[in-house]
């Protein structure tokens, strides 16, 4: 093994692979888990944000009245902070990929660019006092023309959000290779189409919450809050404030869901720091629900041309994607358009592929990262193309997919966008799905139903998700550091740079470590989310908790295990430490359980009588490890392509829906899911990721859409107007797993945090269109809300 690269650690283990329950579940179900808003530091001051009423205007803010209100400690504005503080750091910067420079300030200095944008921060002793005083902040607006529609924003005379850019395009680019137009000209048929996705939003149940505490005595800042990425955020806060990183501590208490929203780059993360520094006391800001809904995603249009041959093979795809980003943000959300484009060919062999993408700013709230980070675009595109090819050629849609897939013996397979798909068995996924779904029987049922005036449809969705991203130049990497240490009493502590958004990866990492040390789960504890004690990590982004945090913990645990075997061999008078095994809390000679010592005794001996029992062994039971992914490549190839992803989990879904053609309501009757994310450490946790992703996908496909009026005011400001699926809206899922281990990761695992969303969006879109096909109607826009379905039917041949 070359040092630093991923070895294979694939022996059978008792705990890993079993659905152990959450190690701290009792604290959750009894309400004792403390989220950020549950903390109460003595002397905390409270922040209320004054927000813009208009979509685009020059502003002047008068805070004099507000400052006189009872309990008010300070009122900050963009202008009051501009002298001392520059723009906030970008989680990702569009400039290296040819985009525009982003300058996002904690509060805007002279101009607002969306309704709801914070313009002033009122800080008071109590929240009620801050709320009351906020009404007395006078904002004078000098309105500017605004633009909400990306096509209008691209017009030559469009109002500019950021004048220095000279246009409203934040970033544009092209991915792919070959000559799609020439390939289309040679092909048997060509399909043109458009796909639109409405504006979604991540909306975790817990809104964002930040609290900063400046200790004037030690001159250190402690930041508590909802973040997925404590170490990158510490770096950003230190850079922003001009502090050394060691003078900033970021603590991430358990979060109430993230889905990308709680990666770093939000202005309020820095606002509480600035205010805490100024007031030398803890300052807290808690977001309300309406604010969470101001951060969107998707809101894209793809115009595509695909070509195919008579045998159903897709010969080319060329597309133009325009993404409506809303206002600019520092969260790196624009990367969704780029990642989405790279992922577009999915798991299909598309010899000639091109995507031209443009990320356009408009006067809506900014994009937020949202799982599956833009990759749903390509899944929707390719699954739409596959169904269109099936209709044109008369082939069954399943057969069209079989003909176009990358085959088992072709891995690792390099797509036309330069991604190297690690492994997979896409045919196997479908075969498995068909053991659950009797396809022929459904088609008969569908025919009978149509005779009775009922419109059933079956839709297929297939996804390949690049995950475990490592972005050159950004603090988004595919390596996290883990430390494993054993105390004199045999207690094991894992410290890791990955965080847990509630998915159970903490428990799964404990499983991995317990196995490798031969101890019980309750001998192991884990510490995450504190930059003062945890080794560096990139947090939980890009589905890498187990991939990187688990992999590095396995390596570190193996080091400690080797040490225990060495000491144990010495104590048991065995020459070859390799003959010893760690199992059930004992170090024993393999095959001779009589020769055994409790692991705790061996640990204690190393700490206390090491000079007698193991004088040649370095007296530590601690290791800190990480590794590099062997398949990531940052040196650009001849076409300028890099390979920034670690794994490519995949899945196929078959959805059955019934469309009520009188109301336009879509009812999901069956949802068959087959997933492959390689080795599963805790299958139940993995299943939970997918079922959660599916319901995110159902929302995106059928009900969730952030709407604005013409004046840019958000009509979807809460859960009565942004409709998350409820338990009664979704069916029981029929779930199967397939395991195709990654050849490149230590434990054979692949990312599992983003699965199900894209697949579900595609399978439901295709199912609705299958149901509507006898009416000659179809939709090309999600969510398929009733008015859209009815409009499609009205435009058909009913």
């Amino acid at each position: 093994m070359s040092h630093g690269t991923a070895p294979h650690l694939d022996e059978a283990r008792p705990l890993a692979g079993s659905s152990v329950r959450r190690h701290d579940g009792d604290a959750y179900v009894t309400g004792r888990i403390g989220y950020t808003d549950d903390l109460s530091l003595p002397g905390t001051a409270h922040v209320v944000l004054v927000r813009s009423d208009v979509p685009h205007a020059r502003i002047t803010v008068d805070v004099r009245d507000a400052l006189t209100r009872p309990g008010v400690l300070t009122v900050a504005t963009g202008r009051s902070l501009a002298g001392e503080f520059g723009p906030i750091p970008n989680a990702m910067d569009p400039v290296p990929t040819g985009g525009q420079p982003l300058e996002i300030h904690v509060l805007p200095i002279d101009k607002v660019v969306y309704v709801g944008q914070p313009v002033a921060a009122v800080v008071a002793e109590s929240l009620a006092q801050a709320l009351s005083a906020a009404a007395d902040v006078q904002v004078h607006y000098e309105p500017l023309p605004h633009v909400l529609d990306p096509e209008a924003a691209l017009a030559a005379d469009a109002p500019l959000l950021y004048e220095s850019w000279g246009s409203n395009v934040m970033l544009s680019g092209t991915v792919g290779s070959g000559d799609a137009e020439a390939a289309a000209a040679r092909s048997a048929g060509v399909i043109h189409g458009t796909l639109r996705t409405g504006r979604g939003a991540p909306v975790p149940m817990e809104p964002r919450a930040y609290c900063a505490d400046w200790d004037a005595r030690t001159r250190r800042l402690t930041w508590y809050g909802t973040t997925q990425a404590p170490h990158p955020l510490r770096h950003a806060i230190a850079e922003f404030l001009g502090l050394r990183e060691r003078d900033v501590r970021v603590v991430a208490p358990p979060v109430g869901g993230s889905f990308g929203f709680k990666n770093f780059g939000h202005p309020e993360e820095y606002l509480v720091c600035v205010l805490a520094l100024g007031l030398a006391r803890p300052v807290q800001w808690i977001e309300d629900r309406a604010s969470t809904l101001r951060y969107g995603a998707r809101d894209s249009r793809i115009d595509y041309t695909a070509s195919y041959d008579d045998d159903g093979r897709v010969t080319s795809v060329a597309c133009d994607m325009v993404a409506n980003h809303g206002a600019a943000s520092a969260t790196g959300a624009f990367g969704m358009a780029f990642a989405g484009s790279l992922a577009m060919p999915s798991g299909y062999q598309v010899p000639d592929f091109r995507c031209d993408y443009r990320v356009v700013v408009t006067n809506k709230g900014p994009w937020s990262p949202l799982r599956p980070f833009g990759k749903e675009a390509g899944v929707l595109l390719m699954e739409t193309v596959m169904d269109a090819v099936a209709r044109r050629t008369g082939l069954d849609p399943l057969e069209v997919r079989r003909r176009n897939w990358v085959k088992v013996d072709q891995f690792p397979y390099v797509t036309t966008t330069g991604l190297e798909l690690d492994s997979g068995d896409y045919e196997g996924l479908l075969d498995k799905a068909l053991t659950v779904m009797d396809y022929a029987a459904f088609r008969e049922e569908q025919t009978r139903a149509r005779e009775q005036g009922r419109y059933l449809g079956l839709g297929i969705g297939f996804e390949v998700l690049p995950e475990g991203a490592d972005i050159p130049g950004a603090l988004i990497g595919a390596s996290d550091i883990s430390t494993v240490r054993m105390s004199p009493s045999g207690d094991v502590t894992v410290l890791t740079g990955v965080t847990s958004p509630g998915n159970g990866n903490d428990t799964a990492i404990m499983q991995i470590v317990a196995d490798r040390l031969g101890v019980a789960m309750d001998s192991v504890s884990i510490v995450q989310g504190d930059t003062d004690v945890c080794p560096f990590g990139f947090g939980n982004v890009s589905s890498r908790g187990i991939l990187t945090g688990g992999g590095s913990a396995a390596l570190a645990a193996d080091d400690v295990a080797a040490k225990l075997r060495q000491v144990g061999a010495s104590m048991l008078h065995v020459d070859d430490a390799e003959r010893l095994v760690l199992r059930d809390g004992f170090v024993s000679v393999d095959g001779d359980p009589e020769q055994a010592l409790p692991i705790a005794v061996v640990a204690h001996a190393l700490y206390t009588v090491g000079y007698i029992v193991a004088p040649d062994v370095e007296p530590t039971l601690e290791s800190t490890r990480t590794f590099r992914m062997r398949n990531i490549r940052h040196h650009a190839d001849d076409e300028g392509k890099i390979m920034p992803f670690s794994t490519f989990s995949n899945g196929i879904y078959l959805s059955v829906v019934e469309v009520d053609i009188d109301t336009g309501v879509v009812d999901i009757l069956r949802h068959v899911m087959v997933h492959d994310c390689g080795v599963m450490i805790n299958p139940r946790f993995v299943t939970g990721q997918f079922t959660g992703g599916v319901v995110n996908g159902i929302g995106a496909a059928l009900t969730e859409e952030v709407l604005h009026d013409r004046e840019g005011r958000q009509l979807s400001a809460g859960f009565k107007t942004f409709l998350l699926p409820r338990a009664s809206d979704v069916p029981a899922f029929e779930i199967q797993h397939q395991v195709t281990p990654s050849p490149f990761t230590p434990l054979g695992t692949k990312g599992a945090g983003e699965g199900g969303v894209a697949c579900t969006m595609a399978s439901l879109l295709n199912a609705v269109n299958d149901a509507l096909s006898p009416l000659g109607a179809s939709i090309n826009e999600l969510p398929a809300v009733p008015h859209r379905v009815l409009a499609a039917i009205g435009g058909g041949e009913r």
Binding site: D38, A128, P207, A732
Partner: protein
Amino acid sequence: MSTNEQVHSISTRLSLNLDGTDRTADVDPRSLLVEALRDDFGVTAPKIGCATGDCGACTSRVDGQITKTCLRLAVSAEGSQIVTTQGLAEDGQLDVVQQAFWDEQAFQCGFCLSGMIFAASELLAENPDPSDQDIRWAISGNLCRCTGYEAIVAAVRTAAVRQREIPQRG
């Protein structure tokens, strides 16, 4: 002093039986019950997910009735008996629903648990053998963004089976 400033200084005394203990605190009369529970009584099990009665994260049992505590003013609960998920477990022993939620991995981030657990408890009190559809309807007043509801339904099913097999405490 303007009227506004006088309002700021007003607080009112609120007495509750909270998770089995008689408690008294000074609360702002404008406070929602969930705000008073969290900020003035320091019981943080009920969460604020929307403050509009849509998500259910603030649910507690008030005088025997499960209640979205963001939809009531704190002062309206004077003298009430309130149970939160913090008080459901007796003598460190998890309630049958809590236990099933843990065993069945019926939560991820856990923010929705107050609503889900109380809705499930209420269902099982009325219907010891609910169908999956009964369960889905019973919990549909609560939002969960993580689990896809599947595991929650399984947990309520498990709790129902266990409740039928083992007589309830007390």
